[in-house]
């Protein structure tokens, strides 16, 4: 975190300055703590989950919450609480990795587009427009159809959704940063384009990219759920939260625990990521002092 905040010019140590301001965003701090707890629970799943995520128990199907099964059991008698813990690994991975990949591609494209301008810019941005206009479901079907079902391909599909938004965002900041004094100065002393982009422009775009990443992780988790809804999500017996929710939706009114708990897990996680993102934005934005 610290070297990212370095980009923001400030008299106090930038990290300290950021922390001083972030600390005051109580909602965001709480959200951050919730997320840390979630990540910890997911990492510790093998040790703290009372049952295996795919262990069936046909004599104990669709049981309501009890002391043996905190969140009840599903149609195969699997323990929902354990599945949520294990599923956290998958859902959070889907969120982080897809955003990292989509963000990386988007940042690179946005940087190039904004920095060079002209024909390159038009080409890249038109491509992004096409990608935006292209319905996500078709894109996802394409990716999953061509690569086959599997959680990694779901991640690729979701990553593709994120690329154009990041590209637009970074292109905008790059255009603005290109005009700043220090970039102009660096350019005048003959700093090469790649170095200029990496050293002087990229760091300037990062605060908004980080903020956007934190917001986008939530969206990605929701997109995974929507993909499961149309049958293209994480294949069984994966306890990915969206897959659990989609698989259990026909038990509404029969065994509500199957949807309630994964639904809550998604809701809390996405909410926390969004609140954290808002807090980060406020803390990172120089104008808001």
């Amino acid at each position: 975190m610290s070297d990212l905040a370095l980009a923001a010019p400030s008299l106090r140590s930038p990290a300290a300055e950021f922390w001083r301001r972030f600390r005051r965003k109580h909602v965001a701090v709480v959200a951050g703590c919730v997320l840390l707890a979630m990540i910890f629970a997911a990492l510790a799943a093998p040790w703290i989950a009372p049952y295996g995520p795919a262990t069936p128990d046909y004599d104990n199907v669709l049981a309501g919450p009890s002391w043996q099964h905190l969140c009840g059991t599903d149609t195969f008698g699997r323990d929902i609480f354990s599945r949520i813990l294990w599923g956290g690994r998958i859902s959070l991975t889907v969120g982080f990795v897809s955003v990292a990949m989509g963000g990386l591609a988007g940042v690179v494209l946005g940087l190039i587009s904004g920095f060079f301008g002209g024909l390159v810019d038009s080409l890249i941005m038109r491509l992004m427009d096409v990608l935006l206009a292209f319905p996500g479901i078709l894109l996802a079907i394409g990716v999953v159809a061509l690569l086959g079902p599997g959680i990694d391909n779901v991640i690729y599909a979701i990553a593709v959704f994120s690329v154009p938004v990041f590209a637009r965002l970074v292109r905008g900041s790059t255009l603005a940063l290109k005009q700043t004094l220090y970039v102009q100065a660096a350019r005048s002393i003959g700093v090469r384009a790649p170095l200029l982009m990496l050293r002087h422009i990229l760091p300037g775009t990062l605060p908004s990219v980080i903020v956007y990443c934190s917001l986008r992780v939530g969206t990605s988790i929701l997109t995974a759920a929507a993909l499961s809804f149309i049958g293209l999500g994480a294949p069984p017996p994966s306890p990915e939260w969206g897959a659990m929710l989609a698989e259990g939706r026909s038990y509404l009114g029969v065994a509500d625990q199957i949807t309630l708990f994964p639904g809550l897990a998604i809701f809390i996680t996405v909410l926390a990521f969004n609140l954290l993102g808002d807090g980060l934005r406020d803390a990172l934005d120089q104008k808001l002092r």
Binding site: D129, V130, L132, A133, F134, I141, G142, G218, L288
Partner: protein, 306 residues
């Protein structure tokens, strides 16, 4: 102005052509044979050959592509492989339900979202801000299909106030428009708030304040007007997305819209329908972008159209 419009519109023709070509290649690259899918698993080879010949799918791909390009250029969209209806008719039947649903969902979510955003921006950092933002963001954190099913269960089955779905009178719009709009309202609220806050920090707002312009005047006259620009951009973008047919909401609420048509067509690899739909979406995007640019000039006359 007129010249600007013409230039903008002609400029999009190559983009649309590129989209058309791209879509054709994309759908034909997808595994799956429409003739087989339409004819079903217990179809014999004769049955399948019949479908294939009927839809011209037995011709070489290059010929099909050229045929498709020339037909598209003449706005001949062809017939559905699955139902034999003309694509124009198929899309025509479903356009209005999607458009109206989008308009209703956008209308309430923009009003509520911008309202919450302004409230939060004005009361920045205070409890009203925090409560409003947590509420707004809750909307974006619900998986759409879950929210929709819960709403149906509550308002249609338990309370019996609203129909479960389907296209019809205003009652039919309430639940799907609400479900569709919650996510948009949340994005709007957050966006408005940050745009508002950003503008507040600008020099001219500070100056106005320093000059003793009453707070209410500062908010409405100086801040909101400029904060609206990014909000308009976002509205346009969201509108474009929703016009593509909200697949999840249309499925949950049995809405006869473009999103469901797309899902059905993809499931059957109904090439002509998929191709036409994507082209339509691209045109909508282009048009919306244009309207957004025009709106900038309306909101802030200092922005010139170039």
């Amino acid at each position: 102005m007129l010249e600007y419009l013409i230039r903008r519109l002609t400029g999009t023709i190559p983009v649309l052509l590129a989209v058309a070509a791209f879509v054709f290649l994309f759908v034909h690259m997808l595994p799956g044979d429409p003739a087989r899918l339409v004819a079903g698993p217990d179809a014999t080879p004769q049955d399948i050959a019949a479908v294939r010949a009927d839809m011209g799918l037995d011709r070489p791909l290059v010929m099909q592509f050229l045929r498709y390009l020339s037909d598209t250029a003449r706005l001949q969209l062809g017939r559905s492989i699955k139902t034999h209806q003309t694509v124009a008719e198929l899309i025509g039947e479903r356009f209005m339900p999607t458009l109206l649903l989008t308009v209703f969902a956008m209308a309430w979510s923009v009003v509520v979202g911008v309202g919450i955003g302004v409230l939060s921006g004005v009361k920045r950092g205070r409890w009203q801000d925090q409560v409003a933002m947590v509420l707004a963001i809750s909307g974006i954190s619900f998986p759409g299909f879950w929210l929709g099913l819960l709403l149906i269960d509550l308002f249609s089955v338990r309370l019996g106030w609203l129909p479960t779905g389907g296209y019809g009178g205003w009652q039919n719009f309430v639940l799907p428009a609400f479900t569709l709009g919650t996510a948009v309202a949340a994005v709007m609220a957050r966006f408005t708030r940050s745009a508002f806050v950003e503008v507040t920090a600008e020099d001219y707002v500070r100056t106005a304040r320093a000059k003793g312009v009453p707070e209410r005047g500062v908010i409405w006259k100086h801040t909101l007007r400029n904060a609206l620009i990014p909000v308009i951009t976002l509205t346009g973008l969201q509108f474009g997305f929703l016009l593509g047919g909200a697949i999840v909401v249309e499925t949950v609420f049995a809405w006869p819209g473009l999103g469901r048509l797309l899902v059905d067509s993809v499931a059957f690899r109904d090439y002509p329908v998929i191709q036409a739909e994507i082209l339509l979406f691209s045109c909508e995007f282009v048009l919306i972008n244009l309207i957004v640019d025009l709106l900038y000039a309306v909101v802030n006359p200092e922005i010139r159209l170039r």
